[in-house]
């Protein structure tokens, strides 16, 4: 009987240790998602500000600046801004701001993916290791790369 209890205790200890490790990993991932979300918001805002001075893009850029958060409205406003930038002769500042926004989105979605993979684990769902943290979601947006940059040889 003692052997059985020892075995049960052993298995429980292993599970508890793994759950604790996963919970800490998930906590780190959530904090990374939050940091990446702030970075994405900053870079999108910087892009809209750079675009607001460009002719023909101003109103779309202001719409993007007015849309807060990283929800559906923002996605649509930023996609519209991407398309507007694609149709204009963007200057160097806007090209750079646009590139940074695209990278920030890619890196934000990377951290979201990392977090979702762990959130889907059985042990996370069974023991509610995610706590009250909301499920992170991808930021979907149309992207443009204005005028393929190059040098003359």
């Amino acid at each position: 009987m003692d052997v059985v209890w020892a075995l049960v205790a052993f298995v429980l200890t292993i599970h508890a240790a793994y759950a604790l490790w996963t919970a800490r990993r998930l906590d780190r991932l959530h904090r990374r998602v939050d940091a990446a979300a702030v970075a994405l918001d900053d870079q999108l805002r910087a892009r809209a500000q750079a675009a607001a001075t460009a002719p023909k893009v101003t109103s779309v850029a202001n719409d993007a600046l007015a849309a807060g958060g990283l929800g559906r409205d923002r996605e649509q406003a930023e996609s519209a801004l991407s398309r507007a930038i694609g149709g204009t002769d963007a200057d160097e500042t806007l090209v750079a701001a646009n590139a940074r926004a695209n990278y920030a989105r890619a890196f934000y979605n990377d951290t979201v993916r990392d977090a979702l993979v762990v959130r889907r684990r059985r042990i996370v769902r069974a023991f509610r290791l995610a706590g009250s943290a909301r499920l992170p979601s991808f930021f979907e947006m149309d992207e443009v790369t204005p005028a393929r940059r190059t040098i003359d040889v």
């Binding site: 990993r25 780190r28 991932l29 990374r32 940091a35 990446a36 702030v38 970075a39 900053d42 870079q43 750079a96 590139a99 940074r100 695209n102 990278y103 920030a104 890619a106 890196f107 979605n109 990377d110 951290t111 993916r113 990392d114 993979v117 393929r148 940059r149 190059t150 040098i151 003359d152 040889v153």
Partner: protein, 386 residues
Amino acid sequence: MRIGLVSPYPWDVPGGVVAHVRDLAETFVADGHEVSVITPVDDEDAVVPPYVVRAGRSVPVPFNGSVSRLAFGPVSATRVGRWIREGDFDVLHVHSPETLSLSLLAVFIARGPIVATFHAANPRSRVLAMMQSPLQVRLEKLSGRIAVSPAARKTIVEHLGADAVLIPNGVHVGKYAGADPLPGWPGTGGALAFVGRVDEPRKGLDVLLDAFARLRAERPALRLLVAGPGEHDDLPDGVTALGLVSEQDKARVYRSADVFVAPNTGGESFGIVLLEAMAAGTPIVASDLDAFRRVLDDGDGGLVGELATVGDAAALARACASLLDAPERRAALSAKGRDVVGQYDWSVVATEVMHVYETAIAGHHGGHVEAESDQAVAEAGRQILP
């Protein structure tokens, strides 16, 4: 900006990743940034640029079908920890952290804005498959991931379940465009050039030598210029082997040929030699590899050069002949190559990398790169022992 770069491979052994790190470092230095590169250096007497910090010698490890020389262990860990503390970097940029190397060690040890570039394309790596879960957890730390090619990106998506943005390898276009041909080259009898390790089967020199023999049957004056380290026993008449050449001479080699040949048989993630040939304005014949096809894409549905079936000497000879016999087509390809390669100039590529740094730094609210505690550094050194 203060930039810390980590190279996994020894500085004094020629290779694609080392060349990439060096060119990136020098481009940033020229732009006025403060750059420090930590790297293994095998030869204690080797002369290294002032921005290089030595992390000790490396040990040979079989990887990706060839032997890589890597450095890790407690001594390297201590040096990397000290380098990070003293460097006070705004961003840390590690190269190929998927190998058991200085780069992975730096990821273990550092905190803050860390960017990684993945170079390798290896569809079936047992090392990566084995390392998958422990690596995945460590690489979650990265603020930004870059792949140099779609093949490299595919490798990390499949092995690490992570994605990366694409920023290609760069080339100093001006250095190649302005180089003088070697004395007496290319001459009037036709000249081919090959650049790469001569004793590395994947580089395909033996296929080229077979094709060269076929071509020479009809063109007795045809010559072949071979530049790259390694021993080869029987080089036939008409072949000039230069061995390992300096960067300056390598640029001159490309300019010394009517046609540049890349007969590689596989394992190529990118194809930097093709960019160098394009920058030099030399028409290209290359193996029909995905990576090569992509670099040779002219953006208008055409190719900058001729492709030949991989490993097929007869096809390679036919492709070379079609260019050797058509000077106007060579001139057209040369012009097109110089047009296409402009987007790969280091000035363009490094700007993109800088945007990635800026994005990574923004995600840390201006926080610098820091080292974990001494205890964690020592632990990293032990953990990463093979």
